[in-house]
């Protein structure tokens, strides 16, 4: 909700002209009324309309400035005739009117050019820029015509007004890392794969990884879905990265690294957030020491995500890109404790905590105890499997003993064993599919809710591939009790069944236990993979760092500084268990804030970042928007996958990626939905 003087956005018009401010009706949209804490906005203008927060806004100047922003944008493009020349004319004519030199015929020309731009421009930016301009001409025609009649300059013409603009797109907005998606897709389309990768790396250093295992929230905000099917955004990302790799073009950084400036930052954790933080800090000339508890780099993605889904060789390429920068130093096998943290605070200019969430939560069953032989928390289970598969690091003897494994084998071999996993998210999928590959005789997934939810929580592909590989899914079920023998070996599970009772008031349906439907599963292992929590025992108690109610580090979600000055947090340890791309986005932002903080001691955001957050709250993607100018019905390209037989007993990468032809065809479906938003303050 926003209080506006006048607004026109997605079909809603709020007109408070002539009314006293107290009586102003509100708009349903979250416009950036306040630019930041101490600066109010005067007006907002964007691809779908505009909003005025104060009655004294010079709308003609606003329109001219908006057209100018497009002109500035097209300085970097200019790739279609309507955009290149049309944009120029929009600006020239509005400026002419604002100067007081406008003529009536200019309005006609403006309308005509606008119409052609809206119908024929190459990308959405050219198609949408005229929209708010036409809205202004329609709703403020009297103001405009009086300027023309009286040959008068508009009231703010030539005065200092601050206009701040940002280019966005629905997919970019939805991406937690705000990756310039249309740019990297355009790179693929134009066979300029180096440009494509550099566009990705502007905000996303893990191009290989997020080209393979990202849950792609962007694809849920792809406008192409309004027409037919969303673009295969994620998979197009790896094209540039694979190109760099195949052609040994190391490394295509988004810009030249600045010389080291003597400042240094300690980063705790070398997972996606830690790596991202190091990458962008180092690019800005800030040295980073990255401390990692595990013997390998990459955090949960390295030891959690299985080889078949994310070959470590590819992840290592992303990591090498980070370590290729001067000033990045990795210290592995080092568990940071409170004492270290106290020392770091003195030795470094800032600290970025990026330790993730590595404690598997319990399933809350009776008799649930860590000591049970066969009770194996997901994180540790995946560590054991993947450290061996990917790095050849043997499973520690004490774990092998505790989990009743073959002591002669240095790795996890589940031959003849039955494994039950309780979960429903990505981690549990990794557990069951790794278990299949570790030769388990039977693998069962227990999930409280239904199939549709598991697909929503993970991906369609992930679920179906698991089913194909023979994982048995039991829905609407939960473990009530863990049954053990005299030697404390896990023997069986007592499982309850549930049904879904719809809420008569239309709320979320409730799960209700079905009495008498309990059953027993005999099994050797129970792997709890319901969720994870953060281990923050390394934070000195006296720092009294504020925590969220779910035990993660509290920040403002914008600058990512914790309650203690100079200590920042990003990734799962801040947000709770979430995605790689979320960790990347947070760490990228934190790195940007830290890169200024180390010099000034101030915590600030750039205009670009402030606008990013405003747009996120306004929401760029409109699910209901009708798409015009594109022919529907072109199917989304699907890349080739290994067949079940080819994949289920090994760790070969399942997804073979697009062929060049498929990639280009898919890139051709992209509608380049760039938009410009601008705020006057």
């Amino acid at each position: 909700m926003s209080k506006v003087y006048f607004s026109c956005w997605r079909g809603e018009i709020v007109d408070n002209r002539g009314k006293p401010k107290e009586e102003w009706a509100e708009s349903a949209f979250n416009f950036p009324e306040n630019y930041n804490i101490d600066v109010a906005s005067k007006a907002f203008i964007g691809w779908d309309g505009f909003a005025l927060f104060d009655e004294n806004v010079d709308v003609v100047r606003l329109a001219a400035e908006y057209a100018k922003q497009y002109q500035l944008y097209s300085e970097a493009c200019g790739r279609c005739a309507p955009g290149r020349w049309g944009g120029r004319i929009l600006y020239d004519l509005f400026d002419k009117i604002a100067r007081g030199e406008g003529e009536k015929s200019d309005l006609e020309h403006l309308k005509e050019v606008s119409k052609t731009m809206m119908e024929t421009s190459k990308c959405e930016i050219g198609k949408t820029v005229p929209k708010p301009l036409l809205d202004i001409m329609e709703h403020f025609s009297e103001e405009i015509e009086s300027l023309i009649r009286e040959k008068r300059a508009s009231k703010d013409y030539g005065k200092e007004v601050n206009y701040i603009a940002k280019v966005t797109a629905p997919c970019m907005d939805a991406c937690p890392a705000h990756v310039d998606i249309p740019a990297y897709i355009e790179g693929v389309r134009d066979l300029r794969f180096d440009d494509s990768l550099q566009a990705t790396r502007k905000t996303m250093p893990l191009a290989h990884t997020c080209g393979r295992v990202c849950p792609h929230p962007c694809e849920d905000a792809c406008r192409r879905a309004n027409l037919d099917e969303p673009i295969s955004i994620m998979e197009l990302k790896r094209i540039g990265a694979d190109f760099e790799d195949e052609h040994s073009l190391f490394w295509l950084h988004p810009k030249e690294q600045k010389p080291l400036n003597g400042k240094k930052v300690a980063i705790i954790g070398a997972g996606p957030a830690g790596l991202t933080g190091a990458y962008y800090l180092a690019l800005e000339g800030v040295a980073c020491d990255v401390y990692e508890e595990l013997p390998v780099l990459g955090g949960e993605v390295a030891v959690g995500v299985p080889e078949y889904r994310m070959p470590v060789e590819k992840y290592n390429k992303d990591i090498e890109a980070v370590s290729s920068l001067e000033g990045v130093r990795f210290i592995t096998g080092k568990r940071v404790n409170a004492e270290d943290m106290r020392r770091f605070e003195k030795e470094y200019d800032a600290i970025l905590v990026a330790t993730g969430t590595r404690i598997s939560k319990k399933v809350r069953a009776q008799n649930e105890r860590e000591e049970i032989r066969g009770y194996w928390p997901a994180i540790n289970f995946l560590d054991c499997i993947n450290l061996y598969v990917k790095y050849g690091i043997e499973v520690p003897k004490e774990i092998r003993e505790k989990q009743n494994l073959d002591l002669d084998k240095p790795y996890v071999d589940l031959s003849g064993k039955t494994l039950v996993c309780v979960g429903g998210g990505f981690t549990s999928m990794d557990v069951v599919r790794c278990a299949v590959r570790a030769n388990a005789e039977k693998v069962i997934m227990l999930y409280r809710r239904d199939e549709a939810t598991i697909i929503r929580n993970t991906t369609y592909e992930e679920y179906h591939e698991a089913v194909e590989e023979g994982v048995e899914f039991i829905f609407y079920s939960a473990v009530e009790e863990i049954i053990t023998d005299e030697k404390d070996n896990l023997k069986a599970l007592k499982v309850n069944r549930f049904e879904l009772i719809p809420d008569p008031d239309g709320g979320r349906p409730q799960l209700k236990k079905i009495e008498g439907a309990d059953f027993i599963i005999e099994c050797d292992y129970l792997v709890p993979a319901v969720s994870q929590s953060a281990d923050l025992s390394h934070l000195p108690e006296e720092w009294e760092i504020e925590m969220t109610s779910w035990g993660t580090i509290k920040t403002d979600g914008k600058t990512y500084m914790s309650s203690r000055k100079g200590v920042f947090a990003a990734g799962d340890c801040e947000y709770g268990p979430m995605t790689i791309v979320n960790a990347v986005g947070q760490a990228k932002r934190a790195a940007s804030v830290i890169s200024r903080y180390v010099h000034s001691g101030e915590v600030t955001l750039t205009d670009e970042e402030i606008m990013e957050d405003h747009l996120r709250s306004l929401k760029v993607y409109d699910k209901k928007e009708k798409i015009t100018g594109w022919l529907p019905g072109l199917p989304r390209a699907v890349s080739e996958k290994l067949t079940v037989e080819e994949r289920k007993d090994n760790n070969k990468e399942v997804n073979l990626g697009f062929t060049q032809e498929e990639a280009i065809a898919e890139a051709e479906r992209c509608m380049r939905c760039y938009y410009i938003a601008m705020v006057a303050i």
Binding site: D92, T116, T120, K122
Partner: protein, 806 residues
């Protein structure tokens, strides 16, 4: 097949075919400004928008593949209005200099401005100074440029030079040389051809004629065996001289390509020839006295047939060494392949994704084949191997997936054996051969570099608080780190000695592994180096086996314009006799099209007839400039072997047993369809012939060259004394070498030298090419006059004696 409708006409599309492609194929007009069928859609002009029933807004037809049952409307009031507005925008500030613009009369901007009835510049914007650029043969005027991007796309996607790019800057955008201060490319001039306006033009043509005054003569390019389609455009020379002159060459740039030699080297005609009856009598006497006719392959099929008829009647020895070597190569190829001719053509290469080239300096020898090769690598994301002793940066720049193998001269047998070894199905190969290949294999230690993580334990001093005493004390703590480290490891791999013989790069197998996994359609290109090779016979037979036992299609590039025609039509002899008549050759009596012989003959731009090109296509060419002297048919008539009035009456008589068809010249087609089909003449028929598997020899140990070795190879844009004669390409040949070559031959850049080989000697200027590597020099010979044709019989690599001219 997808069925749909355009303007209520039912049409069908292949999967992935765009609406515009179908419309063009069906002859339905949709206006475009930036569309170029031979490159990927550029999508900058937006003129090709169409309506689709049921779809709101306009759909871009060049980019949108057809979907079933849609109904496309190509024109409506609204579409017209938008296209008109786009043209108004295109016309913003476009200089009104049509009166002096070279493009006037054939300008797409002019045409579309007219078509959409834009009669005034309603909008304008403040302009800026834009400097005209001088790029050697090309001039670029940024104020005329409409940024359609066709030139940039054609240069990268079709030609492969990737020499220009757009400097983006919105309204200030312009075309600039890519990563270079000025244009540095192979000067094919395709950018001029595709430019829809007067922004990129030929400097030579500028201000010389209006487009509409020129007469267009369709012809085949005379310079190399691609015999590309082109138009000579002629007009009278001047007010005082009404005789026609060629002003420029144009091509069907939407469908086909032309290199710079064809585009800029057009005025090689034999000007001013007259019917000198006295000389003609002398010529007849020479023929009566002669026992030999020496000739070149710069002749038409019909002339070749006349020479054959002369031989049949009078028993002349027909001597054309280069064509004879090629003919023998083809015959030996047939012996093992079982086909009368090779099968691959440029389209085949264009569509392939794996190409191997052996024995040709592709950049110079056949630009057309290079363009096709570029497409295979760049557009089809293919790969390839370029076997050649001289490293060529232009070829290597086609892509990283092209592996260059710079072997020593004379090692080509190993290259062909390697192709067999890598790609032939071993079971079907003759037993001795697979045994031989096996015998070349051995196990080799290979050092591989791996990155491993190494545990490093460091002792670090740390201050620790003693919990009991509360004192701080320094203790040594061990800190372990995993440090990535490159280690060398030795593994055993199977290796073939062939790779050693070829000096293949260490990473040859590794680099190819990935490329080969994607291999679908493959072509082997063979070139001129092989035909005069001491082991030519065995090489040809190996090529035949490759054709037979691998999935490679083979192309055997004819070394000169019509070598294939001559090889098929004439029975050639090895040695000259006592008295020879030369047709463009130095001899006892010389018929010459270069104007310096005893009796004048017409050059190929003054003749009509057909040429058999590298694609096995019999293509027609026409008379661009009148010729008033005698032609070969006149001699044939006088000697009683022709009753025909015109040379082209022989077209229908070309030997059908060699694959020709009995079609009259005037019935030959000569155009391209909108679907990009080439309708020029006809293709030679390939026949099955008797074949045998045997008679393949093992690789011969040839003595290595000692001394200063040079390679006969012409610079880009030059092919022969004919290109050398044209005014735009009037530069001389050089001896070119690397710094290493200069050192070995004790030469400095700019030295005048005398190069001696066999019984020839020529004077050259020595030039160091910093991009060249190795010790083989390049000897350019195209400007030697008719004596050039005498040196074509030798192996292209030769040991020479080079002395500085005092």
């Amino acid at each position: 097949m997808i069925k749909f409708y355009i303007d209520s006409k039912e049409v069908t599309a292949e999967r992935g075919e765009t609406i515009l492609q179908v419309a063009r194929r069906e002859g339905i007009y949709i206006p475009t400004m930036c569309y170029l069928p031979k490159v990927k859609p550029i999508e900058s002009c937006r003129l090709c928008v169409v309506e689709v029933e049921g779809v709101e807004g306009f759909v871009l037809s060049c980019q949108t593949p057809a979907t079933p049952d849609i109904r496309v409307i190509t024109n409506s009031k609204e579409l017209f209005a938008h296209r008109q507005n786009i043209m108004r925008l295109y016309d913003v500030n476009h200089p009104l200099e049509c009166g002096v613009c070279d493009k006037s009369g054939e300008c797409e901007l002019q045409n579309k401005t007219l078509e959409f009835m834009v009669d005034s510049q309603e909008f304008s914007a403040r302009d800026q100074k834009r400097d005209i650029k001088d790029w050697k043969y090309i001039q670029y005027d940024p104020s005329l440029c409409i940024l359609c991007e066709k030139c940039v796309h054609v240069c990268n996607e079709v030609i492969g030079d990737d020499a220009i790019e757009i400097e983006y800057g919105g309204y200030k955008s312009k075309i600039v040389p890519k990563d270079a201060p000025t244009l540095d490319c192979t000067f094919c001039g395709e950018c001029i051809a595709v430019c829809p306006v007067g922004a990129l033009i030929s400097k030579d043509f500028q201000y010389s004629a209006n487009a509409w005054e020129l007469k267009r003569i369709p012809a085949a390019c005379a310079h190399c065996s691609a015999a590309c389609h082109l138009y000579y455009e002629t007009k009278h020379t001047s007010i005082s001289d009404p005789s026609p002159k060629i002003y420029r060459v144009k091509n069907e740039y939407e469908f086909t390509n032309l290199c710079g030699a064809g585009r800029f080297g057009f005025d090689f005609e034999n000007r001013g020839a007259k019917r000198d009856e006295v000389e003609f009598e002398r010529a007849l006497e020479a023929f009566k006295r002669a026992d030999t006719i020496k000739f070149t392959s710069y002749i038409t099929n019909e002339e070749a047939l006349i020479l054959q008829r002369l031989k049949e009647k009078y028993g002349y020895r027909l001597v054309n060494e280069e064509a004879l070597a090629y003919k023998r190569f083809l015959e030996n190829f047939s012996k093992t392949s079982g086909k009368s001719l090779y099968r691959a053509d440029n389209r085949e290469i264009h569509e392939s994704n794996f190409v191997i080239s052996v024995g040709t300096a592709l950049k110079s020898d056949n630009p057309r084949v290079r363009f096709s090769f570029n497409n295979a690598i760049k557009m089809n994301k293919g790969g390839g191997i370029y076997f050649h002793p001289i490293k060529d940066p232009v070829i290597e720049s086609l892509g990283k997936s092209l592996v260059s193998v710079n072997h020593k001269p004379l090692k080509e047998e190993a290259a062909l054996y390697l192709v067999l070894d890598m790609f032939a199905s071993k079971e079907s190969l003759p037993k001795e051969l697979s045994q031989y290949l096996d015998s070349l294999r051995y196990e080799k230690e290979k050092i591989v570099e791996e990155t491993v993580k190494e545990k490093v334990t460091q002792k670090v001093k740390k201050k620790v608080k003693d919990e009991e005493t509360g004192e701080e004390k320094e203790v040594e703590v061990e800190e372990t780190k995993m440090v990535p480290k490159k280690v060398k490891k030795s593994i055993t791999v199977e290796h073939t000695r062939l790779l050693d013989m070829l000096d293949a790069p260490e990473d040859f197998t590794d680099r190819l592994e990935k490329i080969l996994s994607k291999r679908e359609k493959s072509v082997l290109i063979l070139g001129e180096d092989l035909y005069t090779h001491p082991r030519a016979e065995n090489l040809a037979r190996l090529a035949g086996l490759i054709d037979r036992h691998t999935d490679f299609e083979v192309m055997i590039i004819p070394p000169r314009t019509n070598s294939l025609g001559v090889a098929l039509i004439c029975d050639l002899d090895e040695e000259s006799g006592e008295f020879a008549v030369g047709y463009n050759r130095e001899a006892d009596y010389v018929l010459s099209a270069t104007g310096d012989g005893d009796l004048d003959m017409p050059a190929l731009n003054q003749q009509e007839g057909t040429i058999t090109n590298v694609d096995r296509r019999v293509v027609p060419t026409n008379v661009a400039l009148p010729y008033e002297g005698y032609v070969l048919n006149d001699i044939a008539r006088a000697l009683g072997v022709s009753e025909y009035e015109n040379t082209i009456d022989f077209t229908k008589d070309l030997p059908t047993e060699r694959g020709y068809r009995g079609i009259e010249f005037d019935d030959l087609e000569n155009y391209f369809t909108n679907a990009m089909e080439e309708k020029r003449g006809y293709l030679l028929e390939i026949k099955e012939v008797e074949s045998a598997q045997g008679d393949i020899e093992e690789i011969a140990e040839l003595p290595e060259f000692n001394g200063t070795v040079v390679y006969r190879c012409e610079p880009v844009l030059q092919f022969s004394p004919f290109t050398a004669k044209s005014h735009q390409l009037s530069f001389g040949g050089s001896l070119v070498g690397s710094a290493q070559f200069a050192l070995a031959a004790k030469l400095k850049d700019g030295d005048s030298v005398v190069v001696r080989f066999g019984n020839k000697e020529i004077e050259r200027l020595f030039r160091i090419d910093t991009e060249m590597k190795g010790t083989v020099g390049i000897l350019e010979c195209f400007d030697m006059g008719l004596s050039y044709f005498d040196i074509l019989s030798d192996y292209r690599y030769k040991v020479t004696k080079i002395t500085k001219k005092s």
